[in-house]
Amino acid sequence: MLDHTPTKKTLVEVDGLRMYFPITAGLLRRKVGDVKAVDGVSFNIYEGETLGLVGESGCGKSTCGRALLRLYNVTEGSIRIGGVDIATLSHDALRRMRPTMQMVFQDPQASLNPRMTVAGIIGEPLDEHTKLSHSEKLERIYELMDAVGLSRDFANRYPHAFSGGQRQRIGIARALALSPKFIVCDEPIAALDVSIQAQVVNLLEELQDRLGLTYLFISHDLSMVRHIADRVAVMYLGKIVELAGREALYESPKHPYTQALLSAVPEPNPENESSRRRIILTGDVPSPANPPKGCNFCTRCPKVMEICHRVEPASREIEPGRFVACHLYETATTAETTAAHNSAGKARLSNDNQPTQQGV
């Protein structure tokens, strides 16, 4: 995708983001380890695009999204939004940055204060960051309600009186209140009915076109991500294993994990569906508190090699704009490293795998 959008400006730059949560144990609450929820993630988001972030539950997608807005104090790494590194900003400076970045939450019920009216909820960002008069504020609240398709009559009602889709619209209106540039959508459709999912996603797309928004769209719904995202990042156990343009990723997934993930998406066409070959992964996701040595995926990878248990694969650009962190593709790009650690067996293995990848 990089080659398609060479003129676009980078809005969000994430470099080596790590988010560890300490594990304490014993009487004195000594720190005995870390849950490595996000472990060295780097990516860019260009202005006006949607980056989809997919992965199975517990892989650190939501933590990554929240750390990006610094709802957590990040352990390491830098997050540059519009050129400002927010990972190290002071509280006051961060508060002034808040209007440029907002978030839409997963559970629309839980993300709205049950004791506030819709007008109060949508007006909260305005109260915090603007000095509008009462009537101006009300006018802006009504505008926002129009923008997300809520009737103005609802301004006085409380969240419990709404359906899930309407609640999510309230959440979106709140996120839009300060005209942000960047919105993290943390599984905004996961808690919604399928028919409502489409409405909300269409609303998000329409708002993007109209207001020039940039999204980080976190989801585990691969077909929805295919619909909305321009580029897709696949996460596994706190790391991004593959990052590519949407079409390229869905047409020919490179990383074995992406292949397995995409093979689980049902095919609408029954003929293709009958010939769909699922790659079934065995075993469980290792604990993020104790990830395996070498590649994080080595315990479940169907194409695992000896090197995978020893050396952590670096993310490398195998095609323009396409990043994969897998030893399988090192042979194609850098022959020297392969020769250093390795063996004819590995080359043979990766060659054997070539047809399978195209078949998926």
Partner: protein, 304 residues
């Protein structure tokens, strides 16, 4: 008809939330009755003395232990003092002690509970302090407070106000721990709620986070412990007066009247029943008001 009005009001501007609360409160019959009873008790003890002008402290030994009569509608006590006047005077003290001590203990309990729940750094200090207060033996502590501070307070504020301040502080300072623990528990749960995270992503600073998001949502438990607190404050005051630690013996409070009458309970049961009924009515009406208010403040229950 009211619908038409409310729709018109909605169109024009967001309606003041307190009108919704009042609308819901009105639908709670028990709360309305409680409110009526509480206001009649207040009227009795505030306006009553202007109409029934007998001095509650006037001793008339010739009219001892009388039953109900025109001269003494509720009879007289063992020293011939008029019971109606004493109940009215006693109510003033008991209810003001109850309300003030409850306010003090709720304020203290909520403050400490919210601070301990919201700010992780303060939690250990505050909650161990709460445990310390819970572990203190209350009666010796009250005894100590009264003996230490009665004279200086009486000297600077006059005997009645001095004792009032002392009793209210003593009750307030020894009864906030339960509400502090309840509030802390609710705050801990609320702090992890997604709407608090949403407010953080907006950039709401902690103090407004507490007033806007945390406090309204811990209102229910606070309300319950407040209404229970009034009852226990009135009863603690009675117990203190009975032990001779509270107001002076000739100073009527409901608790004092009750305990004075206990000796002759079998001969003159009315003298026990009357202050007892007043205490129960107050406590019950306040509980019902609190119940109605709690429901009315919760938008999820409102409108059902």
């Amino acid at each position: 008809m009211t619908d038409a009005i409310s729709i018109a009001a909605k169109r024009s501007a967001p309606r003041n939330q307190w009108w919704d609360v009042w609308d819901q409160f009105k639908t709670h019959k028990g709360a309305l009755v409680g409110l009526a009873v509480f206001f009649s008790i207040l009227a009795l003890i505030i306006i009553g003395p202007w109409i029934w002008t007998q001095d509650p402290g006037f001793v008339n030994l010739r009219a001892r232990n009388q039953g109900f009569s025109a001269a003494h509608p509720l009879g007289t006590d063992q020293l011939g003092r008029d019971m109606l006047a004493r109940i009215m005077a006693g109510g003033k003290v008991s209810i003001s002690v109850g309300l003030t001590a409850m306010l003090l203990s709720i304020t203290l309990g909520t403050l400490i509970g919210v601070l301990a729940g919201y700010f992780k750094r303060l939690e250990n200090l505050l909650m161990r302090g709460t445990d310390l207060f819970l572990a203190l033996p209350l009666l010796p502590l009250l005894l100590l407070m009264v003996t230490l501070f009665r004279d200086p307070l009486s000297r600077s504020f006059g005997p009645e106000t001095g004792i009032f301040i002392l009793i209210v502080t003593a009750i307030g300072a020894t009864s906030w721990m339960q509400s502090a623990r309840i509030v802390r528990g609710s705050v801990l749960a609320l702090k992890e709620a997604e709407f608090v995270l949403a407010a953080r992503s907006i950039g709401t600073p902690p103090r407004r986070m507490i007033t806007r998001h945390i406090l309204p949502n811990v209102m229910s438990p606070i309300m319950v412990s407040a209404t229970l607190g009034i009852a226990s404050a009135i009863i603690t005051e009675s117990a203190l007066s009975f032990l001779g630690l509270g107001f002076p013996p000739d100073f009527p409070t409901w608790g004092r009247l009750l305990f004075d009458a206990v000796d002759a309970m079998q001969l003159y049961p009315a003298r026990v029943i009357l202050p007892g009924v007043m205490i129960s009515l107050t406590v019950l009406s306040v509980n019902y008001i609190g119940d109605g208010l709690r429901d009315a403040l919760d938008p999820r229950i409102r409108g059902r």
